[in-house]
Symmetry: C2
Subunit: 300 residues, 2 copies
């Protein structure tokens, strides 16, 4: 199960009880954090996030509304006696900024923390359950999006066929791992007959802060869910261009052209008190659009 929980859906200046960017990615028992604006650790308490489970933190770029909460979170993990390894990915000089603040306070963290500097596109993390890739977005400063891909799970044993063919219990694990079975009489029973394919892994793409740029489409094509910023409504497309941000219709156009299944929009400017128009404008272009609302979990 892949899901995204929104902790902050606003742009830089907090307003109307909306907070700067942060999202929790849950992938079965694995928990990632994407971006960590100021107050993220407090939002985690508000929304009962299992913060001790977080193993990887991905920071898109070094505008404060995407990482000013990181040093506080790292510090709090230390004070709470966190044990698990923590991996932090972000552009340079994120590590320097965090380390300086820890050093000044004589803070010795009680858990291992590893900083990984993102320097360009590619795979950041991969194992047999998931893969996280990064890609460049088009923002005022160096900025990265992230694609979280659930791997296809092992094929599922079909109980009645295993029984029908008298497969011994001790061989079940081999079947699960893709082997065929040979009977005493030398008859080959194909794995495809004894198992059903698992459903395809889901894909979530976080497109960070970006102006309208079709170069990102190749990285997010056919995704099940993408998050694309919509700092402004359509009437401010000139300002969006100038500030390297996107409008509702631009985000929806990217979703449409990338053939994704669903679009989540956020990073709303604090000039807007209400959000209904964001949804209606985006839906004109891409109907399966939803607002990213704080505290809500979206299953991919």
């Amino acid at each position: 199960m892949l899901a995204v929980t929104i902790l902050g859906n606003n742009s830089a200046v907090p307003a109307f009880d909306r907070h700067p960017t942060s999202q929790v990615i849950t992938l079965d028992s694995t928990v990632f954090l994407i971006d960590c604006g100021e107050g993220t650790q407090i939002q985690m308490i508000n929304y009962k996030i299992r913060r001790s489970k977080i193993s990887h933190i991905f920071i898109s770029h070094l505008h404060g509304d995407h990482y000013f909460g990181l040093v506080g979170l790292i510090n709090t993990f230390g004070l709470l006696g966190h044990q698990q390894e923590m991996h932090v990915y972000g552009p340079a000089p994120l590590q320097q900024i965090i380390q300086l603040q820890l050093n000044v306070a004589n803070t010795k963290l009680c858990y291992p923390i590893h900083f990984h500097t993102i320097t360009g596109e590619g795979v950041l993390v991969e194992n047999d359950k998931y893969q996280v890739k990064t890609f460049r977005t088009n923002h005022r400063i160096e900025c990265y999006g992230f694609v979280v891909k659930e791997k296809r799970k092992p094929r599922k044993l079909v109980a009645e066929r295993l029984k029908q063919n008298s497969i011994p219990y001790h061989f079940y694990e081999n079947i699960r791992n893709g082997e065929d079975f040979e009977t005493d009489k030398g008859e080959l029973i194909k794995n495809e007959w004894l198992t059903d394919p698992a459903p395809k892994g889901k894909v979530y793409a976080f497109c960070a802060d970006t102006k309208y740029d079709e170069n990102i489409i190749e990285h997010i094509r056919d995704a099940d869910l993408i998050y694309h910023e919509t700092t402004y409504l359509d009437h401010l497309r000139d300002r969006a261009e100038e500030r390297f941000h996107s409008t509702t219709k631009q985000a929806a156009t990217i979703a449409l052209k990338a053939n994704v299944k669903k679009l989540l929009i956020g990073h709303f400017s604090s000039r807007y008190n209400t959000l209904e128009e964001f949804e209606s404008e985006a839906c004109e272009v891409f109907p399966n659009t939803e607002l990213a609302i704080e505290g809500v979990t979206y299953r991919v």
Copy 2:
């Protein structure tokens, strides 16, 4: 009018809807900020603080729960088009930490900001309305308390006596400035007869994070209101000693020995869900003790 509004009353780990340290000092139309833990700018919105009026920010020490919200606040002032000069006082290397984060984001602030490194005891700011002094407290790292002193205002003209003695209107300003009046007949009318003394200026002392240390008493003696941390209840005095923090009874003992009028306690450890015991324990030693509650303004 001198007053203190509490924005955060908790120690390092936010919990039970309590936030890290921050206090707003209002002195007539002047607004200061003392400490700026993570989320301070959001607390300012919650409690409708006139944040654009803040001219001076004093940071006691560089443990994150006292300053991690500063860079976000400085940044937000920039995004909101703040114009007024801002003065920030704190231990080195506060300026380096903030500047590094602004530089990385290519942030050019639209208002003048001046960093002042606190290196030891003395007067930080002074004019004809107030004085702010700093003193050392006894904490794990370099840490400073602050004394905000309202200056005595000019004496008040007593209308009936000015009339009785036929003082000409054009001489009122001279009287206000302390001059005596000489009549045509050479009779001297003393200023003390024509005016009443203004009430004595109030004094507020913020004692920052500190273990029990009687050396701070000389700096806060006879203050109208002091804030002294009580991270722990009395049962954890060994832990308080070890962590360079104070207990309820220790804070109350300082208040008693310093002969202050009132004690405000805060910086509560997140191990305590409720606060009643903090008040009752401190009151046993110093009856005029009150809990520092977020969102509440305490007139000095």
